[in-house]
């Protein structure tokens, strides 16, 4: 076999189909927005040519966090709220791996909120997908931090009493924020475009995905799903462009430069119409793993030399 043939052969081997990324059969409810996110992830892996053995999907607990089971990559289905620090440990130990985090509005914005704030600050090269359906699903319908005021649930039967937390503005308020975007499950093409941009950004890419939960809050996003005019498509040469096909339906476009943090904060606070696209991006923010791995190589010799050097300081020699 000539070198060229071997090369082509190798390329063919490396070529993967969607099926190569499909794991177990999803057990989400009929019509659940998580399916759209799963499809976008599988397509992303295929199109970016990610080797399944070098890719890790990390999650916490909740409906969203079942996603790793449905991928044929490495997966880490952890504990409630702690997906981010687990993912950080993985990335720190193995910067060669592609690390994704799937988390829900309860997992990220409630029980794991402390980790979320600090993960933004660490800015490790991880792609985070916040499956935000505004409700706790797996525990059967309790209000979440992102539930709109007045949401009726099993823990708020007369309507929730607190205003919803906005994950986008919270993220944009934290030092070292480097990538914030918003997508919705019902526009798959734009979802795919956005997660691709998030993956390609080197740093902590935070994508809030508004996701329907037909089982518990079936009407939550209905007005927006049925009225394309209530979607605000963000477009910019530094961000993403809305495709001509989508433009025919979603005509409400707004030029938005994602390098401008003040404009980004303004856009983030809009809840109607729903902004979709890249809200903020700053590729200049250093990644924690790069800062920390700047030191010496880890070899048996470097360990021996360091240990002996230290022991020298504390050694009492016989006289």
């Amino acid at each position: 076999m000539s070198t060229a043939t071997a090369c082509l052969h190798h390329l063919f081997e490396e070529q993967r189909a969607l099926e190569d990324y499909q794991g177990g059969v999803p057990r989400w409810c009929k019509g659940c927005g998580d399916n759209a996110i799963l499809a976008a992830m599988q397509r992303l892996c295929r199109d970016e040519g990610l080797r399944p053995e070098r890719t890790v999907f990390v999650s916490g607990i909740g409906c969203s966090s079942r996603l790793p089971h449905y991928m044929r990559t490495y997966g880490f289905h952890g504990i409630h709220g702690r997906a981010l620090p687990i993912a950080e440990g993985i990335k720190m130990a193995r910067p060669d791996l592609h690390v994704f985090v799937n988390t829900g509005d309860g997992d990220c914005c409630s029980i794991g909120a402390a980790h979320w704030i600090h993960a933004i600050r660490y800015n490790m090269n991880i792609t985070v997908l916040l499956h935000d359906n505004h409700i706790y699903g797996l525990t059967k319908k309790q209000a979440s931090p992102t539930s709109p005021l007045g949401t009726r649930s099993n823990t708020s039967p007369r309507g929730s009493t607190l205003d919803a937390l906005n994950p986008l503005s919270v993220t944009l308020g934290v030092q070292n924020v480097s990538f914030v975007a918003q997508a919705v499950d019902w526009i798959p093409e734009s979802l795919f475009q956005i997660v691709t941009a998030a993956f390609r950004h080197r740093g902590f890419s935070f994508v809030r995905i508004l996701q329907r939960c037909p089982e518990f809050v079936g009407n939550m996003f209905e007005p927006w799903v049925h009225d394309p005019q209530r979607m605000l498509m963000l477009t910019h040469e530094n961000g993403i462009r809305v495709s001509p096909a989508l433009q025919k339906i979603y005509r409400n476009e707004r030029p938005h430069d994602p390098s401008n943090i003040d404009r980004a904060r303004e856009v983030a606070s809009i809840d109607d119409p729903i902004p979709v696209g890249i809200i903020y991006r700053n590729p200049q923010v250093p990644c924690y793993e790069d800062l920390r791995h700047a030191g010496a190589l880890r070899t048996a010799e470097s360990i021996r030399a360091t240990l002996d050097g230290e022991l020298d300081k504390f050694t009492v020699w016989p006289q």
């Binding site: 990559t73 600090h118 920390r292 048996a300 009492v316 016989p318």
Partner: protein
């Protein structure tokens, strides 16, 4: 000479310098305990540690104990704010802090009060007391000083008033910074330590600063030495039997850090907590030079999760904490147990529950570490009992974690954390290091939880290994790591995870009895009490009693052979620094008595009637106290009643 008129040996009569020096006789001792007490920030710690290091260089056995207030800058001249160091030096190896001190240096009279009240000073103890407070312009201070001094004298302590401030002022402008070196000089003179070694020690501790600082401190050292020579009427020598091999002098927490470095672990994730944190301080200083990383996480939970994530990808990581932090890590530890991710957790125990006594030693976390998390979560628990142990425990823990895919918890405590004791210099071996991360393709058909029916062991697959893709989960799972609620599969998984403890247990050697193999009474202990227990056993045997001791390193699993040992003694008792009910309390009877942790475990496992004695005074248990506890239990029954 003003300085001399202030000296008051034993009574109120002052002696002249000439008499002091002429009357001096060199008294040779086997061992001695010195305490140096000051306000926080006056350098008593540095003075005490230096004194210990110099003695160690002379070849003496040494054990130093830090006496630390919980606050950084507690009020000056306060009982609670006293900070200091106890140094026990001996001709032979010293394994614990000993009983009461024979000499104490006090930078003011208030810092003595806590030590007096706690009974830490022996009757007739020599007190070298800073005399400046007696001349204070503040009448209240002068009165406080006089009152304490007179009480000490009346109680039979040998009080020497030493004008430390005044003497230091002839050399430096701010005696607050330097008085400790003057004291070090006095102590070198009083204990016949070589001044050259003391000068070298000063050069070492101030090595990062300029020559001027070293010079000024050496001058203070020499002044202290000369002053003691001229003005004090006693002098001791503790002859040293020099070691034949190089010894290392570090405290327990530094030894842990060096152990982590030597074990080949790459990542340590932590959150600040007393008394564990100084391990991470030191590790942060040295780890990066060898490519390691200390990650200070946003909280204890994140530190644990971060370490789990790092371990998952190949090499075992470590997280270090103390009791309250351990509680927070418990859920994460359960995940590591369930998913069989190796992990090393260090718990440097402190007084609990809740915030408890952050700077004080206790052994109260054993049961929560062993049985903690939720559900059945078997993990390996071992306890260190010396400074040397702190070093090697990290290498052992890493290896066990990796071999058995288990969580290994290493228990230390506040007394080992800051105690110093020389031990033979470790000789690095590449075998200590973790093997490289396996990135080979996984054979077709292999599963990530292919539990061996006998040992429960399975080979884990790590990211990067082709064909090994699976989703690890904290949910019940089958051999392929698929979520499974099948009743048989859950039974199998639990079985396998539990079997691994038995598999490890089969590799452990039975513990060795200290002293005779059989006798009237066996003391069982674990952790930092080892030195004190064994010293007590030696003393009791010297009195003619048939007492031995057994010290456990592995608490879960416990090695085989323990039951047989327990059965060879008429009585068995554990000595522990945790809570147990006093059987003489009005409401306590054998059916409701709460036993110490180890006693409870031994009783449950071996069906042997194990008694216990414990205290939670926040200080290391003294060998003398143990002797007092044991003697009445050895007396014939009729004599006792």
């Amino acid at each position: 000479m003003n300085a001399v008129t202030n000296i008051r040996p034993r009574g109120a009569t002052a002696r002249s310098a000439a008499t002091a020096a002429a009357a001096k006789q060199l008294v040779t001792l086997d061992e001695y305990i010195v305490e140096i007490m000051s306000d926080s920030g006056e350098g008593a710690q540095k003075c005490g540690q230096s004194f210990g290091s110099i003695a160690a260089r002379m070849g003496n056995g040494v054990w130093t104990v830090e006496i630390i207030p919980a606050e950084i800058q507690p009020p000056a001249r306060s009982v609670a704010g006293a900070s200091g160091n106890r140094i026990r030096i001996g001709s032979q190896r010293i394994t614990n802090g000993g009983d009461e001190a024979g000499l104490v240096v006090a930078f003011n009279e208030q810092v003595l009060i806590g030590r007096l009240n706690a009974g830490e000073l022996r009757p007739g103890c020599i007190v070298l007391l800073e005399s400046m407070w007696g001349e204070s312009a503040d009448a209240k201070i002068a009165a406080q000083y006089a009152e304490t001094r007179d009480r000490l004298i009346a109680d039979g302590y040998r009080v020497y008033e030493v004008p430390m401030e005044k003497e230091c002022r002839t050399l430096v402008n701010d005696p607050r910074k330097g008085k400790n070196m003057f004291v070090l000089g006095m102590l070198c003179n009083l204990f016949s330590l070589e001044m050259n070694l003391a000068r070298e020690q000063i050069a070492f501790i101030f090595g990062k600063k300029d020559e001027k600082v070293i010079k000024s401190n050496v001058a203070l050292l020499e002044a202290g030495c000369a002053w003691a020579e001229e003005n004090l009427d006693f002098k001791f020598a503790v002859p040293a039997e020099r070691a034949t091999e190089a010894q290392v002098v570090v405290n327990g927490n530094s030894a842990l850090a060096l152990g982590i470095l030597a074990s080949g672990m790459d990542i340590c994730a932590m959150y600040p907590i007393t008394p564990a944190t100084s391990t991470s301080h030191y590790l942060s200083d040295i780890f990066e030079r060898a490519g390691g990383i200390v990650h200070q996480a946003e909280d204890e939970i994140a530190a644990c999760a971060f370490a789990i994530g790092a371990s998952y990808t190949g090499k075992v990581a470590v997280t270090i904490t103390s009791g309250p932090g351990y509680s927070l890590k418990q859920e994460g530890i359960g995940l590591a147990v369930m998913a069989e991710i190796p992990l090393v957790v260090v718990d440097v125990q402190r007084g609990g529950p809740s915030t408890g006594q952050p700077t004080k030693a206790e052994q109260s976390d054993l049961l929560s570490v062993m049985f903690g998390s939720h559900g059945d979560a078997p993990k390996v628990v071992l306890a260190v009992s010396s400074i040397e142990d702190c070093f090697y425990s990290m290498i052992t823990a890493r290896r066990i974690a990796e071999t058995f895919n288990m969580v290994v918890v290493v228990l230390s405590d506040a007394s080992l954390a800051t105690a110093q004791q020389p031990f033979p210099r470790p000789q690095f071996s590449p075998d200590w290091l973790a093997p490289p991360i396996d990135q080979n393709p996984v054979p077709e058909g292999a599963t990530p939880y292919d539990w061996d029916p006998v040992t429960g062991l399975s080979r884990r697959f790590v990211p990067g290994q082709p064909n090994g893709m699976h989703t690890l989960t904290g949910l019940a799972h089958d051999r392929s790591s698929r979520v499974a609620y099948d009743p048989d599969i859950n039974q199998q998984g639990m079985h396998a995870r539990s079997l691994k403890l038995a598999a490890l247990q089969k590799t452990l050697t039975p513990p060795r009895v200290f002293g005779a193999e059989e006798g009237d009474l066996l003391i069982v202990g674990w952790g930092s009490t080892k030195g004190a227990i064994e010293e007590a056993v030696e003393r009791l045997c010297a009195e003619g009693h048939k007492v031995s001791s057994l010290h456990l390193t592995f608490l879960q699993p416990m090695p085989s052979g323990i039951k047989e040992i327990l059965q060879r003694f008429r009585k068995v008792i554990t000595i522990e620094s945790n809570w147990s009910d006093d059987p003489h309390d009005a409401l306590i009877d054998p059916t409701n008595r709460r036993y110490s942790a180890l006693a409870m475990l031994l009783r449950a496992r071996y069906l042997v009637d194990v008694d216990c004695w414990s205290e939670v005074r926040g200080r290391p248990i003294k060998p003398g106290t143990i002797c007092e506890v044991i003697r009445p239990r050895l007396a014939p029954k009729e004599a006792h009643s």
